[in-house]
């Protein structure tokens, strides 16, 4: 063979060997574990809130024992709602990881809450929500001739950051300070660690049935458990109505953060009478129709109506009266009166006998029934009512 041809062949072979060497040197560290990411247990990232942006830091160690530098390593995130609409994007800095060692890198997820629409933001802060996110890791390797990108899509549970806002109207009290009159209403809520130390605003508003209103605004520093007292100034007349039990007042605490709000309210009746709160013997009465059952006893039919309640310990072992009313969609109506024992269990199960037609209505059809239970103890009365249309179980 002629020399120029031999030389050309040798150049081709050398070129191919060079490419093969590049490929082998690129793949080898991947196969032997020379390149990898380490997320150490003690290195878990923390979440912080900076103005309106949530930052999640994720420190990791990138091992590159390969032969080539890893260039332009970038981690980015896209947050989406359930419909796949992009809510926020977060793009990390590009980093170079030189060959032959370990490099500490900090991946940061940043989500500006103000980028979310108000409803989404409100859900995220007060209720917690699932957000879809796409994480993308991209990098260049092998003298920038190979570009790798890994995309991972997943759901991520966020929040709630503020929960359990409760107005403790039962422990509200009216106070006189010289000529000034106030009602002190305690309220509480929980805040996630991410909000620790951040100041928020609460407005507690008093309103009675005469149309009198008053409110107080407070700056509250958030912590894991926040217990605050709203001191609402009252006029003498309003104060009198409240203390003699004719105010029928409500109190509402509203918490504002990042242009979103949540509230809780309670019924104030410091002077006695009416239902719910302010020294009531029974409160939080609720029908539990999901636990109700139908019974067929040899051609006689009844339905059990369970309900729950909470009892002030001062009234334990007393007898209250429960008046249960039952309507179905075919116009059938019946009621029953029964004594209820007030104890710490706070549970009663009232049986109502019904004719076969009424039994068939609820057993064979998905018919709507309406149940109302009214409890009475001395001066106190409270009620709970409920529509129910689920198929009811039948016990023989």
């Amino acid at each position: 063979m002629k020399l120029p041809l031999v030389a050309t062949r040798l150049i081709i072979v050398a070129f191919k060997l060079m490419v093969a060497a590049i490929v082998v040197l690129s793949i080898l560290p991947l196969l032997t574990g020379g390149i990898g990411l380490d997320l150490e247990d003690g290195n878990e990232g923390g979440m912080t809130l900076d103005d309106s942006t949530i930052h999640v830091g994720m420190p990791m160690t990138v091992r590159n024992d390969g032969f080539f530098d890893i260039n332009d390593l970038q981690v980015s995130f896209i947050f989406m709602n359930e419909d796949g609409d992009v809510l926020a994007e977060s793009e990390g800095e590009k980093m170079d990881i030189p060959a032959g060692g370990e490099t500490e890198v900090s991946i940061e997820i940043a989500l500006d809450l103000l980028d979310l629409d108000r409803q989404m933001r409100s859900d995220l802060i007060f209720n917690g929500t699932e957000m879809m996110f796409d994480a993308k890791i991209s990098a260049k390797y092998t003298l920038d001739m190979v570009q790798l990108s890994v995309e991972v899509g997943s759901d991520m549970g966020w929040g709630p950051f503020i929960s359990d806002l409760q107005v403790d109207e039962r422990n509200a009290n009216a106070v006189e300070e010289g000529d000034d009159r106030f009602v002190n209403v305690p309220f509480s809520f929980r805040a996630d660690d991410v909000l620790n130390g951040i100041q928020t605003i609460t407005v507690t508003e008093y309103r009675d049935e005469n149309g009198y209103t008053s409110n107080v605004t407070q700056f509250v520093h958030m912590s894991q458990q926040v217990n605050e007292m709203a001191k609402i100034p009252l006029s003498q007349d309003a104060y009198d109505r409240l203390t003699n039990g004719t105010a029928n007042a409500t109190v509402r605490t509203t918490l504002y953060i990042l242009d979103c709000s949540t509230y809780d309210e309670g019924y104030l009746n410091l002077g006695g009478g009416g239902g719910g709160g302010g020294g009531d013997p029974v409160w939080n009465m609720q029908l539990q129709l999901s636990s109700s059952i139908l019974k067929d006893i040899g051609g006689s039919y009844f339905v059990s109506i369970p309900f729950s309640f909470q009892v002030d310990p001062a009234y334990y072992y007393q007898i209250a009266n429960a008046f249960v009313e039952y309507w179905d969609s075919d116009g059938f109506y019946t009621n029953v009166n029964q004594n209820v024992y007030l104890d710490e269990n706070g549970w009663a199960d009232i049986q109502i006998w019904i004719p076969q037609e009424a039994y068939d209505t609820v057993y064979y059809g998905d018919q709507l029934v309406h149940v109302k239970v009214t409890m009475t103890y001395q001066y106190w009365t409270g009620y709970s009512e409920m529509d129910y249309s689920e198929p009811w179980g039948v016990s023989p």
């Binding site: 120029p4 062949r9 070129f15 490419v19 190979v146 570009q147 790798l148 890994v150 991972v152 899509g153």
Partner: protein
């Protein structure tokens, strides 16, 4: 057929021994050693008996066919190219190789055992793929006979030596004349191209598909579909490449008829690399919610640049060999079969012819002024 060509005077024991050794290694020693090693590994690891039985049976077949092919190889190599005797032994050996490989399937039992021990593998499909290059190997015997018959008869003194073609009458398009071609070289290159660009990739794909199917995982479905696409590309590109390779091998070095298919082959090879390299992009998104994108197009382009250098090679080959081919009177490309002595003789003849030509020109130049004077 001239039975005299089986005569002992044509027989060269040295050449026969060389071919017999090659056959013995290829068809006897290597397979026998492989099966023996397989048996040793099985017995060492207390492997399944049915595999051991299968390997023992295959060893017997290797012994029988290997010995017969070695003997046939001796006679094929011993007789000169272009003789009926070499042609007969050569073609018998080529056909027997097909029978040999088919018999190793043991009527489907080999496939059954592989299916039981590893995964379902369509060995008959692999045999069909093997059949095409094996058929070309049979045709190569015809090609060798056709190519070498005239030189053999010339050497035997049975026909007159063909006169050299006058280069003055040759135009470049005459390069495509069939009588310049060597069937053997063409078929040989077509066969190796078919094996390299179609048969081996297809067998690898069949093995990969069999392996993936045995995993019984839904995630590999898209990858299997990709492999199907690549298979069809291998056939679509590989078969025309094998056809071009035939013409490239068929025509001698220095001819345009070799240069054109060679360049076309390089171009198709570049496309072949691009296709088999998945256009430099590998996307794996079979696992729910995870997608891996690998863009290695620049690396692939680097591989293609290396392959494209063959264009430079073929241009140089045309430029360097053309004068030599012309001076030799446009013979068939049979240099590879020339002995060292013959090669030296041919070169010396070429130098002598060039000197004669130069002397003639000088003489002509010396006479011309005299005529002018007259």
């Amino acid at each position: 057929m001239n039975l005299g060509e089986f005569d002992g005077r044509h027989l060269s024991p040295v050449n026969g021994s060389v071919t017999a050794t090659v056959h013995a290694l290829k068809y006897l020693a290597v397979p026998y050693i492989l099966f023996t090693v397989g048996l040793m590994v099985l017995s060492g690891q207390d492997g399944p008996q049915r595999v051991a039985d299968l390997l023992t049976e295959m060893q017997t077949l290797v012994l029988i066919f290997g010995i017969v092919l070695t003997v046939l190889g001796f006679f094929k190599g011993a007789y000169p190219k272009g003789s009926y005797s070499r042609f007969l032994f050569g073609i018998t050996a080529s056909v027997l190789v097909i029978v040999y490989v088919f018999s190793l399937l043991l009527g489907g039992r080999t496939e059954d055992v592989i299916a039981r021990e590893a995964f379902e593998l369509d060995l008959y499909l692999i045999f069909v793929l093997f059949f095409f290059p094996a058929l070309l190997a049979v045709l190569m015997q015809f090609g060798e006979f056709a190519d070498s018959r005239r030189p053999f008869l010339e050497m035997d003194g049975r026909i007159a030596v063909k006169e050299k073609e006058d280069p003055k009458d040759h135009r470049f398009y005459h390069d495509f004349r069939v009588h310049y071609g060597s069937l053997y070289n063409g078929l040989k290159l077509a066969r190796s191209t078919l094996i390299g660009f179609v048969i081996i990739p297809l067998i690898v794909i069949i093995l990969m598909k069999a392996g993936f199917s045995s995993l019984n995982v839904e995630e590999v479905d898209s990858m299997m579909s990709n492999l199907d696409d690549i298979s069809s590309y291998m056939v679509t590109l590989g078969v025309p490449m094998a056809a071009l390779a035939f013409f490239k091998g068929f025509y001698p070095k220095g001819s345009f008829s070799r240069f054109v298919p060679a360049i076309a082959m390089v171009l198709i090879t570049l496309y072949w690399i691009w296709v088999i390299g998945l256009e430099g992009k590998f996307v794996f998104d079979s696992i729910e919610e995870i997608s891996i994108n690998l863009d290695y197009s620049q690396l692939l382009l680097l591989v293609m640049v290396g392959t494209a250098l063959w264009i430079v090679y073929y241009v140089l080959e045309l430029l360097l060999y053309r004068p030599e081919w012309k001076d030799a009177g446009f013979p068939k490309d049979m240099r590879s079969k020339e002995s060292r002595k013959q090669r030296k003789l041919r070169k010396a003849e070429a130098i002598l012819a060039a000197e004669r030509k130069k002397a003639g020109e000088e003489k002509g130049a010396g006479e011309a002024p005299q005529n002018t004077k007259e």
